[in-house]
């Protein structure tokens, strides 16, 4: 396997790690834009979904927003964001935030709505205020699904940040694109491998965190999508 030997040699060559287009720099760029986009998206999506779930309004919108989000090709969102804003990191951030918001809104809404009504009633009967019911009962009960939404969104953001190289943002996608343009399969493969490791680390790392935060629960990611009986279990997983 000469090809794989070349790929290993690519990673072994220190020169490929240094400089403005070195692997280190590209990984850092990829991570910084992903984390920034996730921070903005979480600040927008989680309060919205949780509050809507608490007051029980806007369910149709909250649940369907992720279906619409799934139908929007991330590639198109990126390119359209490029047309509408200036160059630089802005279009990438806008597109990533747009893609990350829907699964988190849906999951936090569904998580709060799915709280056992008996528990909510018991909490009210004990004299808890609306705010207390929310923080002491609904929030802990929603946590596994909220985390599942964050995980789905984060994996999607890391994945889509790869495409952002197309609209002039660096990141690991740049390595793949430059390689594709110059016909350098080793570079393409090395870039793809690095970003795959990054995405899997996100998936597995957040999966572990999710398990820590939800002892005794089945993982949200395992719940079926839109089975007929419980359309409220919809949720999850778009790309």
């Amino acid at each position: 396997m000469d090809f794989l030997a070349d790929v290993i040699a690519f990673f072994g060559d220190r020169a490929n790690w240094r400089g403005a287009n070195g692997l280190t720099q590209l990984v850092v760029e990829h991570l910084v834009v992903s984390v920034t986009a996730m921070a903005i998206a979480m600040a927008l999506a989680l309060p919205l979904g949780l509050v809507l779930g608490h007051v029980g309004r806007g369910g149709l919108v909250a649940v369907n927003v992720s279906n619409v989000g799934r139908a929007l090709p991330s590639f198109a969102v990126l390119v359209i964001a490029l047309q509408l804003s200036s160059i630089g990191v802005t279009p990438t951030l806008v597109a990533l935030v747009l893609l990350a918001v829907p699964p988190m809104v849906t999951n936090s809404f569904v998580g709060v709505q799915g709280t056992d009504p008996d528990m909510v009633e018991a909490a009210r009967a004990m004299g808890m205020t609306g705010r207390q019911v929310f923080t002491e009962v609904e929030l802990p009960s929603a946590l596994p699904l909220v985390m599942a939404g964050v995980r789905t969104a984060a994996v999607q953001v890391v994945a889509t940040a790869t495409l952002a190289a197309l609209v002039g943002f660096g990141g690991l996608g740049a390595l793949i694109l430059v390689g594709l343009r110059t016909g350098d399969n080793v570079e393409v493969f090395a870039g793809a491998l690095t970003v795959t490791v990054l995405a899997m680390a996100t998936e597995i790392g957040l999966g572990a965190l999710q398990r820590c935060l939800s002892p005794g629960h089945r993982l949200g990611r395992d719940s079926p999508q839109e089975t007929s009986k419980s359309s409220l279990r919809v949720s999850i997983s778009s790309r």
Binding site: F3, R70, A71, A159, L180, T227
Partner: protein, 211 residues
């Protein structure tokens, strides 16, 4: 929007829509063909269930552009590369929904079928699968809509259907093909979703209507 461009390229646009639909249908059909045995194996041997679902989850996490790129040394810039990538993304959704659908069959129904002397294959085909249909179709819907969006990314390896228009618009900094490609892609997803809902209602008229 430059409508004369659209009028001049009607043939190309139709051709790309056809390619987009073809790639989506192939990916979902291959995905189903692979998912059914995987889901049945996951149910038959419970210990395999976790690893099977985790493996499809890991596949799902690979960025689409990276997955296409990883396949390049082996399958090159062919439609096969695009198809392998697209099929692998359908597995997580399909396997999980098939398992959930089969698990949702009421135990009494299952026992009644067994008590009537049905053997496992007949019971599966004539009792369990029809009852699992709503969940399976729900999975097919999500897989189809997701695939339609992902096909656009395959434009980078030359097999992106409407994604070719988006890429063209990007490369030439000309918004018309971009808008046409994106809009048609979203419209295609909506039409596919509605068609599948309709098909499910025809096939399982007894099921809940609110799904």
């Amino acid at each position: 929007m430059d409508w004369t461009w659209v009028a001049d390229h009607r043939g190309l646009i139709l051709e790309l829509v056809r390619a987009h639909v073809e790639l989506t249908v192939l990916a979902v059909v291959f995905g189903l063909v692979l998912s059914f045995p995987l889901a049945l194996a996951a149910r038959r041997w419970r210990r395999l269930g976790g690893p099977i679902v985790s493996a499809t989850g890991v596949l799902y996490a690979i960025p689409s552009l990276a997955l296409f790129a990883l396949l390049l040394p082996w399958t090159g810039l062919t439609r096969t590369t695009a198809l392998i990538g697209l099929v692998s993304y359908t597995l997580l959704i399909l396997v999980r929904n098939i398992v959930a659908g089969l698990d949702g069959v009421a135990p009494e129904v299952f026992e009644a079928a067994t008590a009537m002397g049905m053997r496992a294959p007949l019971r599966l085909l004539s009792v369990e699968l029809p009852l699992a249909l709503p969940a399976v179709v729900a999975g097919i819907r999500v897989a189809t809509v997701t695939t339609i969006g992902l096909v656009t990314v395959a434009a980078l390896i030359g097999h992106g259907g409407l994604g070719q228009l988006i890429l063209d618009g990007l490369n030439r900094d000309f918004p018309t093909p971009l808008v046409v490609g994106s809009t048609l892609s979203v419209a295609l997803a909506a039409v596919a979703d509605l068609t599948l809902v309709g098909a499910q209602r025809l096939l399982s008229p007894w099921a809940d209507r609110d799904s």
